[in-house]
């Protein structure tokens, strides 16, 4: 295969950026979903620290 270093660099860069963007989006979505589920769980407000009894 001719021009192999250029081809490897182009594909490596594209796949690297695609993986970083995908993993970042997936982790952010998972964190947000978990946090929202914790906050919106019924009765959660009653257990909030600092809330007067």
């Amino acid at each position: 295969m001719t021009h192999l270093p250029y081809i490897i660099a182009a594909y490596g860069l594209t796949l690297g950026v695609a993986i970083v963007l995908s993993v970042n989006a997936a982790l952010r979505l998972r964190r947000a979903r978990a946090r929202l589920a914790t906050i919106e769980r019924p009765g959660r407000a009653a257990r909030t620290p600092g809330r007067p009894a």
Binding site: M1, T2, H3, L4, Y6, I7, A9, A10, Y11, L13, T14, V17, A18, V20, L21, S22, A25, A26, R28, L29, R31, A32, R33, R35, L36, I39, E40, A45, T48, G50, R51, P52
Partner: protein
């Protein structure tokens, strides 16, 4: 109400049906796998096809295989900005609440893809043209697109009040769309080192079908992948917004309770 106002109102109502965060999150959750899995399958299939199974070019040799990553990223750089411009229009004309969030989430993904387009173009240009970069109209207009994305990201964060940042960024997003026809027609309007388009809407493609098919598959895969990433980021942004609202409401209730107790 005249016909234009009526059309504007009807279009606004159509867009606002999905402004409800709960409805959007339900729709987004259903849509996500239909974008993600086809994107993954088509991208892998198209890249393997382009890299190992498609023929080398008689003139360019195997360096033509860079086309299978360069052309889809070039298409996404422009169409991603078109999406950002549409969101800017929705924000400025109809004050659509999700349009600002969508523009915020498209910006970084579009900037990263445009950077990849520029870098893969350089990696293709060096062996073919003998140089990494020339200031010709096509390359320069894509570089301007990259700076427009960066400007949009910076403007959103430039104000203490988010709404002012959204407005300023939406104006830039809309005004910057003028760069898209310049990118498209730069190879016809000016004498450029960059080759003219091989695929046009009106004419027959000037490349072999043995190269056109893998290019079409990988372009479709990358487009679905771009949609999947932006949708996932937008769903996360809507959830984060709900988290902030819920925490603020909780704090408000605590402050009220503390005030009543004292």
């Amino acid at each position: 109400m005249n016909a234009t106002q009526s059309l504007t109102a009807r279009t606004g109502n159509l867009f606002h049906r999905y402004a409800n965060p709960g409805r959007f999150l339900r729709l987004g959750a259903r849509l996500q796998p239909w974008l993600t899995w086809p994107a993954l399958v088509l991208s892998i299939a198209g890249l393997v096809w382009g890299l190992f199974l498609s023929p080398a070019d008689w003139q360019q040799g195997d360096s033509v295989r860079i086309m299978y990553v360069h052309v889809p990223t070039a298409w996404l750089a422009s169409s991603g900005y078109m999406g950002l411009a549409v969101c800017s229009l929705l924000s400025l004309v109809w004050r659509h609440p999700l349009a600002d969030l969508a523009a915020v989430e498209i910006g970084p993904v579009g900037a990263a893809i445009t950077a990849v387009c520029l870098a893969t173009g350089s990696l293709w240009g060096k062996p073919m043209w003998g140089t990494w970069w020339v200031w010709d109209a096509r390359l320069t207009s894509v570089l301007v697109l990259f700076f427009l994305y960066l400007g949009h990201i910076a403007l959103i964060r430039a104000f203490d009040e988010p709404q002012r940042g959204y407005r300023a960024a939406a104006i830039l997003g809309l005004a910057g769309a003028i760069d898209l026809p310049i990118i498209k027609f730069s190879v016809q309007w000016w004498n450029t080192l960059h080759q003219p388009d091989s695929i046009t809407v009106t004419g027959a493609p000037t490349m072999s079908t043995s190269m056109l098919w893998p290019l079409a598959v990988v372009t479709l895969g990358f487009t679905l992948g771009f949609g999947a990433i932006v949708l996932a980021r937008l769903r996360a942004a809507v959830m984060e917004s709900r988290i902030r609202t819920a925490l603020a409401a909780n704090r408000g209730r605590q402050d009220t309770s503390t005030g009543n107790a004292t």
